[in-house]
């Protein structure tokens, strides 16, 4: 019943010239996605990857357990001095992320182009 979550990683350059590590999620983001979401983030060298962009454009299903994994990434990134931005959320999940307070620790952009223009 769960669509496997896949994560791909890509290096991008923001408008300011800074290097951005983009993690693109596809499929389901739920309690079963811990290895894919948190595991992929934890495998990054925190000294090298200072600016992280989480891209949800390809996500088909997201629930509160999946949002908790995003919070876990934000918590670890905050401790490591990394900045995290998020893009590709639907208007509904933009509302949900705002409701739970994630916007206090991560900036939301409608899409990758908007994120790159601002970073």
């Amino acid at each position: 019943m769960q669509t496997a979550n896949k994560v791909s990683q890509q290096q991008l350059t923001g408008a300011s010239g800074q290097q951005i590590t983009c993690l693109r999620f596809t499929g389901d983001v739920s309690s079963l996605s811990k290895d894919a979401i948190v595991g992929t983030y934890q495998a990054l060298d925190k000294a090298v990857h200072k600016c992280i962009l989480l891209d949800f454009k390809g996500v088909e299903y997201l629930n509160s357990s999946g949002i908790a994994l995003v919070i876990q990434v934000l918590m670890e990134a905050n401790k490591a001095g990394q900045t995290v931005s998020i893009c590709g959320l639907t208007p509904h999940f933009t509302k949900v992320f705002t409701m739970v307070g994630i916007t206090k620790y991560a900036t939301l952009y409608p899409d990758e182009a908007a994120a790159l223009a601002a970073l």
Binding site: M1, N63, A68, L69, M75, P91, V100
Partner: protein
Amino acid sequence: MSVTSGSKVEVRLPSRLGFEKVAMSTAAGMAKLMGFSEDRIEDLKTAVAEACINAMEHGNKMNASIPVSVVLSMKPDELEVKVMDNGTGMQTPAPSPDIDRKMSGEEEARGMGMFLIQALVDEAEWVSGTGTDEQSFVRLVIRMKENE
């Protein structure tokens, strides 16, 4: 297809993560038939999925052989959803999530389901059963137009 108030659909799900999407799709289909807007349907989908996950995890303790029953009832301008499990229900209301406490590790990152349900639907009521003869349930009501 004509949609009449009083139409009812029941779905029984095994307590296995992922099956909440069946209830979610059913609820979305009914709301679409009733003419709900896309944003209200998205609110409903998240609320129904979270209610089913709570019923599977906390009510039925992830015992796949114990079903979660979902009864969806069309009413004039609103859809009522009852999600039933074999647990003893909510003993204490869940607090609203505090992102600062979550970020500092003082509060678990998880535990936002009830908050989201309450925030996304117009009415949410948790009723405790005995866990054997009498099922516990959450009753949600979502209206076609969001309350101001």
